[in-house]
Homo-oligomer: 311 residues x 2
């Protein structure tokens, strides 16, 4: 609690340094991931190597940081949600490993490094993804990690994360996205894909942080509005970056979504209108945080960062 | 409760009719799976079709029945564990879909029908497996399904199922199994594979049923011993069936494990010794149930069936 309070006070005194905040929280997540993921000494070594290869591939840890920031926004310490933060990153990583497979997007590179199946082979990549998804749920239910948390709250988190990651959440979004490749799609389908493929786990991260942090009903409602709007802003900004981003900064092929004829906001609305929507959603997200006061400053900065980032 | 008591009384009066027991319990599971799995009207239809195709492909529902039988052995009603039974079948089904993929075992048929990826394509098969695994955990945490169950017990079930299905459980066993193909392996490695690939979820089923059914520490300990021994007997019997079974009854290629140079008990110990071990384990499993009395009669019959079955 001491660390948290000090950090919070620093935020009140100075303008929030988002880069430091993101770096510090990501470091907490990385250390926890290293602690919780079985090492290469645990059999089967190759599987655990494959899992760690993609988990430690230089991701920004956005979703874990969202969980921590939502927890802090309701006055909870980061340590209270580290297991959930790691679980969310494992789910995100599993989805990237499976999306990159030859049968799916068939990507050879991710964040500038060869994709999992290029290094470990397809079978191991499929199984590493399966194991990360499974380990995420084990960690969410881990008795040690949940010490001091009401088991009913933990169950609510597990049910929500699973719902948002499953056939009517992230996986469903991925299926409709694949089905829509190279076809003209309407705005409703685009929204369906974005809400589920990215938005669902974005929102689940925010809500999990709020619940595990002990947020009140009013606080959870405010954070839910934030999660819905900022999550969509994030996806629109991602679509825009795919068109205008710099290849080196993104570490993937720029324009790759376009090349595949994938449904994107800029493709459907035009670049200017897409940008305007992202900014509007960013402002709505920030406005939603009003009842939370200074503790929500990191989430406000994250909403700005999401829309204004260049990578 | 009335249904359960009537069934139990029938068991006490007559010798247990295992076929009827298995059929009745499997019917409960099938009806619950149909209720809980999203239908083809739920978007994305093709994903839900793919999930249902493999879930309703004529499996024996052994793991779900184990959960129900363990629950009944400690005096609980089947209805109390139907969600866990369905979750376990979803996990089992996801593992079959992924195992059958071209990058893994590359099987075209399963239970006499084309495998999932042959019907729905590789990408959808991968995602249908992912969605089933995810939905299993959602169902395990489902608030409606867990009404009247201590949330701490539900969390213990989730943690155990995830541990037994993950990188040091079922997935780990599959990786070591793949790595061992066509290589001479020692007995310790064979045991590692069997304990994890099949044994882990077998045991998790028994323990989940015992916990959710409200079993005492003594009852859970007895059922744990049963789960360990009967689970291994099941895998040895499966290995034996692969050699001597009838192709039509099994619905898969007989001798396919042998053809791949897969590690099996008969290959390592000889057919006679493998059979002797399976029978010994069956007897140990039945002996472990002693403290449970008549309520455990279905589990005794299942242990006999596992070893004596021909398909």
């Amino acid at each position: 609690m001491t660390t948290m309070t000090t950090t919070m006070m620093m935020m009140m005194n100075d303008a929030l340094d988002l880069k430091s905040y993101l770096r510090e929280r990501a470091a907490l997540v990385d250390a926890a991931l290293d602690r919780w993921l079985p090492g290469s000494t645990a059999m089967p070594a190759r599987l655990h190597d494959a899992m760690r290869y993609s988990v430690f591939a230089g991701g920004k840890r956005l979703r874990p940081v969202l969980i921590i920031a939502a927890c802090e926004a309701v006055g909870g310490a980061p340590e209270r949600v580290l297991h959930a933060a790691c679980a969310m990153e494992m789910i995100h990583t599993y989805s990237l490993i499976h999306d990159d497979l030859p049968a799916m997007d068939d990507d050879d590179f991710r964040r500038g490094r060869p994709t999992n199946h290029k290094v470990y082979g397809e079978a191991n990549a499929i199984l590493a993804g399966d194991a990360l998804l499974t380990e995420a749920f084990r960690l969410l239910a881990d008795p040690g990690a949940n010490a001091g948390i009401d088991p009913a709250v933990t169950l609510k988190v597990i049910e929500t994360v699973a719902r948002c990651a499953g056939s009517q959440g992230m996986v469903g979004g991925q299926v409709v996205d694949m089905e829509s490749e190279g076809k003209p799609i309407d705005f409703a389908t685009l929204q369906y894909i974005h809400t589920r493929k990215t938005g669902a786990l974005f929102l689940a991260s925010i809500q999990s942080g709020a619940w595990l942090g002990g947020g009140s009903a009013e606080q959870v409602a405010a954070l839910t509005r934030y999660g819905e709007t900022a999550g969509l802003a994030f996806q629109i900004a991602d679509d825009i970056l795919d068109i205008v981003g710099d290849q080196q900064e993104l570490g993937k092929d720029v324009g790759s979504d376009q090349a595949r004829g994938k449904a994107t906001y800029p493709a459907l609305l035009g670049l200017g209108e897409a940008r305007r929507r992202a900014e509007e959603l960013r402002d709505l997200a920030i406005a939603a945080l009003e009842p939370l006061g200074g503790n929500a400053e990191p989430l406000r900065a994250i909403a700005r960062y999401i829309v204004d980032r260049t990578s």
